[in-house]
């Protein structure tokens, strides 16, 4: 579904001070941003703080961004998320210190009712991230935005601030490197990796 025009209109209203419009955008994307932050950090609690930071940062930058006819709010929002996650990892020690002074993440029913499931999912995610550590950060970012967040290539381009062609080449390069890792035994005992293992489903291989 093409949401871009509606999103741009909501963003324009929000930037002019319409808190209801901002709330609609928040509701529209908060869960995707939350899941993205989790899959980049392997921590649900950290993801909660990062998600709040993403929307605060989006609001703070409201006057610095405009969207033309083909502008993508979701792409830009994930770009903010990407930078927030990147900044968190870059200055992790001081960031943790700052977070400790903020209200703690909510351990609501969604988390408390399945503590073991939460811990399992964090361990599972850590294993994937450790494996992906062998890729460059730009490869990891483009894969995360494509595979884990389902963004289109134009939206990824907007998120990363690069041309669509660069997104295509980075995805191809990431695929080659994952192939190489698989061949070297990291990805399995000599088995050719499946397309989905490379983070490229059929539709994505077609470079939609």
């Amino acid at each position: 579904m093409e949401r871009a025009p509606a999103d741009r209109e909501l963003w324009r209203a929000a930037a002019e001070g319409d808190s209801d419009a901002f709330a609609v955008l928040y509701e529209q994307y908060v869960d995707r941003i939350y899941s993205y932050c989790f899959r980049r950090t392997a921590s649900w609690a950290t993801a909660q703080d990062l998600t709040s930071t993403v929307f605060l940062e989006a609001w703070r930058r409201r006057r610095a961004v405009t969207f033309g006819e083909d502008g993508s709010v979701v792409g830009w929002l994930f770009g903010v998320a990407n930078n927030v996650v990147r900044g968190d990892q870059r200055s992790q020690r001081r960031h943790r210190e700052a977070l400790a002074k903020l209200p703690p993440p909510v351990a609501g029913p969604d988390l408390a009712e399945d503590t073991s499931s939460r811990l399992d999912s964090e361990a599972q995610m850590r294993r994937v991230l450790v494996a992906l550590d062998r890729l460059s950060s730009s490869d990891r970012e483009v894969l995360a935005l494509s595979v884990w967040s389902g963004l289109t290539q134009p939206d990824i381009a907007r998120a990363l601030g690069v041309p669509v062609g660069t997104v295509k080449s980075r995805l191809a390069r990431a695929r080659q490197r994952l192939h190489a890792l698989a061949d070297s035994g990291v990805g399995g005992p000599g088995q050719p990796p499946r397309p989905e293992v490379l983070g490229l489903t059929q539709s994505q291989e077609g470079f939609r």
Binding site: G17, T51, V128, L132, V147, R158, A159, E196
Partner: protein, 177 residues
Amino acid sequence: MIDLNDVPDARKLPAARREADVRMLSALIRSEAAPGARRSTRRVAVLSVGTVAVLTVGGAAAARTLLPPSSAKVQDLGRCYSTISTNFGDDFPGTSISNAASRDQAAPAVPPNIVDDCAAAWRIGVLKLNDPHVGAQPSGDYPVPPLVACVLPSGEAAVFPGPATTCGDLGLPALKG
């Protein structure tokens, strides 16, 4: 095997956190969208905080040093103090704010609007005057005291509630700009 699809399912942000986020963001937007209301609140706050400031640092006023304004050396963090304090350590009364960059701002700058950012924290009730504890308050539009930005010895920008003389009273340079 590196299976990028073998990752935990997406989850919804917990409802309580979602509600807290929306309250916080809505209060922030409303307050920034109504500058007239904000000015009125700030004028009311000037009287009470001015009094507190005199009581707190009045004894140090005679020893005030006037240092030339300085730039912050720390690029991605700033501090919002809830009281005038010479505690420049990690356990200072207040909260840190980070200034993550967005896509078109590659390198996080020293919070360019750190006074505004701290004002927002006051406005939504994260900071309370002379209260070292930081935390969420019920939704509302809280008073913002007069704020002044200084530079700590660590190079971090710090915003204190107090009059323009506060930096000098604390032996700190004012934040340039």
